[in-house]
């Protein structure tokens, strides 16, 4: 409080530099995981599905850097291969939510009136639900697996996007340049797509990155419960569940996939948070 302005300026600059460094850590983590997922088959030392029952439950060694699981499959290969499942699925789930939410949010925010009211009330209703518990009910009806999860994300994940975009659109439409665009006589749809949306999407972008993290976390949790990706497909949550009975003797069976989720989640979180502050400022 009594600090001279120069000290405050230095502290702010230092904080900005620290924030930049942190966002680079986030980007680095995400890039490494993306590369691992893309290059997966070239990098994995073993076939992630190949069972060698004689080599089951091996501790980490030079031949198997993260040991082997109860069926003699190489854990490192499976952790890398699982990235090819979790990362694209998380991305797809977040993209579905973002698309549905953005369309409904633009419609509600731009048209307003009863359409807007109806959509927001519907959102309230779904939000008041234990959303993720509802996913379990949907999975029960549709059968465990990827389609059920993507459908649930489309049905339940749109609300934050719709709310964010709607609020921004309502703010933007009062700006003078929108009035100017309307006066120039272009169609309402073009006003929305070319003038309103580009100025309203910023908060949604930061949320999208955080949503990928939440989607991966949810997907892994459902798979852990046996309701998501089905074995033998390598998936981090499924791998944790498969390793849990051997916790006392072979803790790396759960630690490796669990750690993968946490580190990747950290990457998206750091990236999303730095985007959030940057896009706001």
């Amino acid at each position: 409080m009594s600090a001279a302005p120069s000290t405050i300026a230095i502290a702010t600059a230092r904080r900005q530099r620290a924030r930049a460094r942190i966002s680079w850590i986030g980007i680095g983590i995400v890039v490494v995981f993306a590369l691992l997922a893309v290059l997966g088959p070239m990098l994995t030392p073993y076939d992630p599905l190949a069972q060698t029952l004689l080599d089951r439950l091996q501790p980490p060694s030079a031949a198997h850097l993260l040991g082997t699981d109860a069926l003699g499959r190489d854990v490192l290969s499976r952790v890398i291969a699982a990235g090819r499942v979790d990362l694209p699925l998380g991305l797809a789930a977040a993209m579905i939510s973002a698309t549905v939410g953005s369309i409904l949010g633009s419609v509600g925010g731009f048209i307003g009136r009863w359409v807007d009211t109806l959509l927001m009330r519907l959102g309230d209703l779904v939000m008041a639900f234990p959303t993720y518990v509802l996913v379990i009910a949907l999975v029960t009806v549709m059968g465990a697996g990827i389609p059920a999860i993507l459908v649930s994300f489309a049905l339940l994940g749109w609300i934050p996007y719709a709310r964010l975009l709607r609020a921004e659109i309502r703010r933007v439409t009062h700006e003078e340049y929108i009035a100017a665009a309307r006066l120039s006589g272009i169609s309402e749809l073009r006003v929305l797509l070319q003038h309103v949306l580009p100025n309203a999407v910023r908060p949604s972008i930061a949320y999208f990155v955080l949503d990928i993290m939440m989607a991966i976390l949810t997907l892994a949790s459902l798979s852990y419960l046996g309701l998501g990706v089905q074995p033998p497909t390598p998936e981090w949550g499924t791998m944790v569940a498969e390793g849990q009975p051997y916790l006392q003797t072979n803790w790396w069976l759960t630690a490796a996939p669990g750690g993968a989720i946490a580190v990747l989640g950290l990457g998206f979180l750091l990236l999303g948070e730095s985007l959030e502050t940057r896009l706001r400022g």
């Binding site: 029960t140 949790s221 309701l227």
Partner: protein, 314 residues
């Protein structure tokens, strides 16, 4: 007067919400395409037997009538019959409800016991080393999958010390508390980061407000400024965020109940889902939805205790 209006409005919202929930669950049931009568009786039952049960359950009537009947049954505590065991779903749920309630209560108490003191140290010295440590904790708490965190607690606390059971619920209350301790801690670590962030923002803002500045210029001590002046005005966002967390916390409860083999609603839900036991899944979903609604109701009520604007009669 105004308070009564708000209360009536909230209750009306709860009723509408729960009706929406039941409708959704009914639609899921109807859309599943499975004949409940066939599912209950099994594949070996004759067509006549199935037909008789269909008539008895009212499945030969039009869907709107079936929905009303479903609602009426719910109001009488009749949640239907399990496809898997053939037992009454209501009894199944009643046996598991207490475990989940205890877990949630202990988890929320623990999460506040973590987030309040941590936030306090940050507000006392913003930007210090502790601020960084707490920020690291909130990051970790956000990205750790609950099931993995639970497993880590088993590995690092339960197994080495032997103080906490890694499965089951025990018979007496002390045994119950010991059984839910680690699952609740897992939940609390998942819930605390958002609470810390919310309370930190509102508390720091309150500390910079004119009324705290005025109290400071009158010579009030730092602790008095923090707790007597700033805190009561900054807890409302915290309470609101706890209400928002209700839905997420129940999903976390479902996960950790399975990690710790705690016989609560969440474990029953996943068991039933894996057995395609739709009546149990739907009834459990309804009960959990009711819990979420009740948690946010209680949070609203607590908010009114702290907010004179909501409390006043004018």
């Amino acid at each position: 007067m105004r308070r009564a209006v708000i209360a009536v409005k909230r209750l009306a919202q709860v009723v509408v919400l729960m009706l929406g929930c039941t409708l959704l669950v009914f639609v899921i049931q109807a859309a599943s395409g499975r004949d409940p009568a066939r599912a209950i009786l099994g594949q070996r039952a004759s067509a006549e037997q199935v037909e008789a049960l269909r008539a008895q359950l009212g499945l030969d009537q039009p869907l709107p009538l079936q929905y009303l009947r479903f609602l009426g049954n719910l109001l009488h505590g009749d949640f239907g019959v399990s496809y898997y065991s053939g037992g009454a779903v209501g009894t199944l749920i009643a046996g598991r409800l207490g475990t989940t309630l205890l877990l949630l209560v202990v988890a929320f108490v623990l999460s506040l016991a973590i987030s309040m003191p941590l936030t306090m140290t940050v507000v006392r010295r913003p930007g210090g080393i502790l601020d960084g440590v707490i920020r690291a904790f909130t990051l970790v708490g956000t990205v750790m999958p609950a099931f993995w965190l639970g497993i880590l607690l088993i590995l690092l606390i339960a197994l080495p010390t032997g103080w906490f059971p890694v499965s089951g619920y025990g018979q007496t209350l002390p045994e119950h508390l010991r059984a839910v301790a680690l699952p609740a801690l897992t939940l609390a670590i998942g819930l605390a980061p958002v609470q810390i962030r919310t309370l930190r923002t509102s508390w720091l803002r309150a500390m910079q407000s004119p009324y705290v500045e005025a109290a400071r210029s009158r010579g009030a001590r730092q602790s008095r400024l923090m707790f007597a002046h700033a805190l009561p005005n900054s807890v409302i966002p915290l309470i609101s965020i706890v209400a928002v967390q209700a839905g997420w916390s129940i999903f976390l409860a479902v996960i950790v109940e399975n990690t710790f083999r705690l016989p609560g609603l969440g474990q029953g839900l996943v068991l039933a889902a894996n057995q395609s036991d739709l009546p149990v899944v739907n009834a459990t979903t309804l009960v959990l939805a009711l819990m979420v609604v009740l948690i946010s109701l209680v949070a609203d009520w607590i908010s009114t205790l702290f907010d004179p604007k909501l409390r006043s009669a004018s």
